[in-house]
Amino acid sequence: MTKSELIDAVAQRTKITKSRAEQVVNCVFNSMTAALENGEGIEIRGFGSFTVRHYKSYHGRNPRTGKPVPVPEKRLPFFKVGKELKELVNGGVSEPGE
């Protein structure tokens, strides 16, 4: 499913126009992006949570040439799936030992 298909599905589900649904979907992901940009985490109950992880600089290697390359410090978004969605994705089965 692409973003435009998500917009269509939301429009159908809530009986609003596609252009309204598009504004909402864009606002949702723009808000989430802004939160992550500010280093803020996001928690959506039943769906999952996003956190920003900081990585220090390190010396990596070009896998093709073996040449060492410095990798600067960076921030990456990290998603942890929520319990409900985790079970849904796994066919409604919760796995033991987690």
Binding site: M1, V10, C27, F29, F47, L85, L88, V89
Partner: protein, 108 residues
Amino acid sequence: MTKAEIIDAVYEKVGGFSKKEAAEVVEAVFDTMKDVLAEGEKIKISGFGNFVVRAKKERIGRNPQTGAPIPISARRVLTFKPSQVLKTVLNPHRTREEEEADARGSSY
């Protein structure tokens, strides 16, 4: 940020919805995504990232306390791969060379 804050943002920035309507539409966004992922289909949100369902084979794990081997059953898991756009937003001061090095695959 919580779902309630996302609902507030939709209420304030999109306009034309009551709080209740804004809440319903935002719920519909996440419920639709959940339904699609539950079917095993991936979701690609351009500018944000891709949610992908992956099938994992059974493998042997270990009880970290005792070292005893225990089988980990086959399962489907959800992974998120952030888009290059989102990664760039989080790292605004990086140079073009650094971006290109990452795009070649050193970051993920």
